[in-house]
Structure formats: C-alpha cells, structure tokens
Amino acid sequence: MTTNHVQSTATGIDLDAAFQASNIQPVLAELERELVGLEPVKTRIREIASLLLIARLREQSGMATERPSLHMSFTGRPGTGKTTVAIRMAKILHHLGYVRKGHLVVATRDDLVGQYVGHTAPKTKEVLKRAMGGVLFIDEAYYLYRPENERDYGQEAIEMLLQVMENQRDDLVVILAGYKERMDVFFQSNPGFRSRIAHHIEFPDYTLDELLTIADLMVQQQMYRFDGDARAAFAEYLELRMRQPYFSNARSVRNALDRIKLRQASRLLRQGGTIAPDELSRIDAADVRQSRVFQGGIDK
C-alpha cells in the first residue's frame, strides 16, 4: 500500500498536497485524454477517486472509516470501452492504495465454471487467487447464471464469488460487465450480487462525432492518415453503419479501419511503380468507399 503521509497541522489538512501526493492526477489526465466521450463514466471515476482520497485522509486523522466497497458493474453495449476502463480502474485503485498490485485478471464463464461435479470450486478459487491484490473483471457475467438448467454449476461459482467479495474486500475488487438488459435480469435473479455491488456504471453509446474522433485517434496511433475526402467518406460510412445491425461502437470502427488498411495495401500494390513515402500512410477515399456498406450490405 502506498503510504504518502500528508502533513496535518493544527491549521488544517492540505487537500491539494494530498491530491498531488496520491499520483492520481496523471492517471485521470490520461483517462481524459485517451478516452473519447463516456462522460458519465469519467464523472463516476473521479467521484470514486475523491472518495478514496478522503477516506485515506480520514484514516490518517484517526477517524473511523469503513473501507468503502468498490465492487462495480459496467453495463453497456459492445465496444463502449468497458474493458479499457477496467484496466484504467485497476491502475487508479492501485495509485490510491486501494489494491496492492493493480493488475487486471479477465475471466469469463469458461474460466470460472467447471465441467463436472467438484470441478468448479477449484477453478473459481484459482482465478480468485490470481486476481488478489488487483481487479477481477468478469465479462458477460450473466452467463454464470443459467436458470434453464438447474444442474448448472454456475451457481457454485456465484456463491464462491459472493463469499470472497464479502470477506476479502481488502484483497480484490470485482467488476462485472455485460449488456444492460441481461445484467438487469442477472441481478434480479441474484440479489446477493446487486447488494454487494456499490457502483453501477452505465456506458453510453458513442455519438457519430465521438466515433470519428476515435477513428482519428486510432489512425494516428497506427501512423496512417485520412486525406480530406477519405475522412468525409468515413463519416458517411459510419453514419450508414450505425444504423445497421451488429454495430458495436469503437470495435466496429477498429474493424472498419483494419479493412480499409487492407484495401489501401492492395490498391498500392495493384498500382505498382514508384510512390512517394507519404503514400504509404495516406488513406484514399476510394479505400473507404469500396466497403459493402455503401451498397447496402453489412460489414460485420
């Protein structure tokens, strides 16, 4: 645990110094910079950060503080950044001294639930042990509970999770993630989970502008660039694609970019001859417009 003791004098406690000492500012700034949109999520993260900081100050001033419970649920449609935020969350909690190590262990039903009697408990325990000192992220948590099969071993994993979430709050933070509707059903049938999770955070869908900003960021990170026409074409593409089924926000953007890079590469090779080095990074409008989406098809 990081113990940055903050001077408390007779005059008072220096909140600014405490904030500086917690090293939380760079992480929050990074979150702000690299995650587009997601305002409700960022607000909630800042709130949690403040809560933890104050809790620590209270502790140092000798006030009784119960360790706040930090188990969370992230709900939202695919590609809204749940996993990315979970990784950041682990870092933030580590900086605030809430978890000792700050690593993230991602688990799905397969990692927790066994195939036969007596297989589930050791599997779940194994994952829990690996996650201790950090954050356990359970993706699509509702698959743990299968009411249609009464002999399903998911219930066993759930009971074990609940027990550790309650008794070893100091040792790990559990984040459940999944689609909103299905998570709601899951919580209804497992009230134990609902009451043990203090923070329910909803991830909104991205707007068109936000998706474009995300695309710009990705293109830039991969050292490509849109030329003027291409960017307009991509905006058009997104607008069409958003209305189609199976649209999964940032993930769809990434997939679309991957296909665009594919088309750019084959265009360059077809064209042959000598090109300027700059051409290697330039994405042409034609690369975008070849997509099936413009003919009313679906890019999956």
Binding site: K101, H103, L128, K129, M132, G133, D170, L172
Partner: protein, 139 residues
C-alpha cells in the same frame, strides 16, 4: 523439543504478518509458492504432503495466506511449511522454505544405538511421534 529446519531455522516462529511479508518477497521475485504439511518430523523426511498444487501466476500474498488459513484449519496439529521455487534454472529449485505451523506438543527424538560386529555401534534418532500411526500422532 522445538524442531527447526529451513531458511529461518535460527529465528523464532513468524507471526502472520511476517509470513505474509516473506511470501510477498517470493512472489515479487516470481517464485511460485507451495504449501506442504506432514506429521513425520524426522529431519530426513523430505517428502511432505502437498496442500494443493504449487500456486502459479499469483501476484499478491493474500491468496497464499487464504490457502494457508485453510490448511491450518484442517491440519492444525501438523507441521506446515511454505516453499518458494525459483524456476529460472529450468528445474525445481527451492529458493526458500520455512515452517509456519507446528503441533502444540513436540515430543522430540530419542537416540537409538544398534550394536553389530566387532562391538561397533550405529547411532540413529527415532521420533517419538512416529510411534503412533500417521494421522494420530499429535492428537
């Protein structure tokens, strides 16, 4: 007779915080930790029983302490030790090993002398505890 062996044999027994600190040291060095128990205290008994498997991919000592707690519940009156394995050498190398639990009463050992040809004597030690069958030795 208090039996000592392993890395910290010359020190008094560790309390839980000290055990936790040692375990965390192992994990920070990327040494997988395992827990073993026995009720045969003979110093040449190297094969203790494993409590579960060696624990890989663990970052924080809390996980090991949880297992140790469970092992102590079941084998409160046994010897329990913690081992850290350094796997860098490509073979099982014990880097650190120390006793974290011991029976309330440790009856100790007696010396046995075996006389054979030409008045020669062989000496050996015999643990009083092992006079009783395994599982009933420290009841």
């Amino acid at each position: 007779m208090r039996i000592t062996q392993g890395t910290f044999s010359y020190l008094p027994d560790f309390d839980d915080d000290e055990v936790r600190a040692q375990v965390q040291y192992c994990l920070d060095n990327d040494w997988p930790v395992s827990i073993e128990y026995t009720d045969d205290p003979h110093p040449r008994n190297v094969y203790w029983d494993m409590w579960g498997l060696p624990m890989f991919d663990i970052k924080d000592a809390a996980a090991i302490m949880m297992e140790l707690g469970k092992c102590r519940e079941v084998f409160a009156n046994h010897y329990i030790r913690i081992n850290g394995y350094d796997r860098r050498y490509g073979r099982q190398t014990t880097a650190l090993s120390f006793i974290v639990n011991r029976p309330k009463d440790e009856p100790g050992f007696r010396v046995e002398r075996q006389e054979f040809g030409d008045r020669q004597v062989k000496y050996t030690i015999h643990s009083y505890a092992t006079d009783r069958p395994s599982g009933q030795r420290y009841e």
